[in-house]
Symmetry: C2
Subunit: 262 residues, 2 copies
Amino acid sequence: MAAPRSLSPFPALVERRAARGRWVIACEHATNLVPDALAGLGLSETDRAAHIAWDPGALALARGLALALDGVLVAARVSRLVYDCNRPPDAAGAMAVKTEHYRIPGNEGLAPAARRARARAVYLPFHEALRREIVGRIALGRGPALVTVHSFTPTWFGAPRQVEFGVIHDADDTLARAVAAEAQARTGLRTELNAPYSAADGVTHTLRLQAVPYAIPNVMLEVRNDLIATPAQQAAMAAALAPVLAAALAGAAPAAAPGAAP
Amino acid sequence: MAAPRSLSPFPALVERRAARGRWVIACEHATNLVPDALAGLGLSETDRAAHIAWDPGALALARGLALALDGVLVAARVSRLVYDCNRPPDAAGAMAVKTEHYRIPGNEGLAPAARRARARAVYLPFHEALRREIVGRIALGRGPALVTVHSFTPTWFGAPRQVEFGVIHDADDTLARAVAAEAQARTGLRTELNAPYSAADGVTHTLRLQAVPYAIPNVMLEVRNDLIATPAQQAAMAAALAPVLAAALAGAAPAAAPGAAP
């Protein structure tokens, strides 16, 4: 299929810019949109609706958390199959040619210039928008914290997954451990640290790029997507997890005292 | 003095965008320019010409290296006293109120909104431009390496500095050690690792933000500014250091084999 050497940029979706809370909420896999120029990546509509193309339910959950926590939301506007914003451009998964048992014809044999065009059109605008929110809040002395919101499929290569709520960390595990502990104390969710993935699987790129260099609290959440399939489930999950995040942040990384030097 | 809550953005200076070599050359302290809106930060013209406002000679050296190595150059367009692009926004040195024995009146008592305006106008555009060059080269499979080019003053608080060439690293010391070894082997420069500063002084922010998350080779160079005060000295230093960098990169981080997967 055609692999255009340039693509129009897709600015990230940013909601609640004026939010005054500490949380910056990122959703890299918010949508399954494939730009027309890419001809559906050669996939059927059914395949493009599957979890390989996005994290079903994640955007609605992220929105619910942003509202409950007075946080800002930054979400990608195109499918992870076009470019996975949670991967650096040299990762196999950045423009995957295979994921689970699906082949992605539109990503096969991509020329270097086409790979660069994807990175420029999708990855850079998303991370610029996210950085802008984080850096602005650091400059204001707000003590921001980053949470990335994902969902995972209940079965993977045919095997059912028992974990319901995964809490994943990169170099700094402080906030992740606090979130897992609060979830175990406050919810009935089957919660595990670094499941169903961990940093060793290359899934913490956004944390590493956006939070670690600033030494701000950070954590990645993974919710099993059958638990956030409907608007009612999504709202219930946001209502369950918002207090978990708030308590974890207050305990693990208290805000600076009022009047403290920025 | 007035602290405007907004400032026009200063896009970074990017030269040799089409360069085909592996080096991405950054110069955070290239100029002593203070935008008119900031009324000279309350400093005399003499103070604004001093090393506190910029790294004299660094931009010319960086340009010479870019030319010799077929690298791309990304430089900040305003003084480090307005915003030091090698510092995160919560560092005291990002908008310093004191540096060596100088007071910076225009940075005293900056309101949070003014700090954010500085970060947005100077820091974000610089790092977006630098990231674009690095990410583009990673996507192309070019195996980019980042070098940041600085100069330091021969005397600090009245004490002379003997070191002539400092080679500084962040988490990954591979390239820095190779550069120091090649400099000792190929030049007569008095070379030291992590001098006159080190990562512990907070001077490796650019490396940490731009290179470490991508695991690309990276190093920070510091040249004593009396050795690069004239165009002839700057050209000679570039001619001396370009082969040092080339040999160090070839030894420490060989390019991917032709045809290797990106």
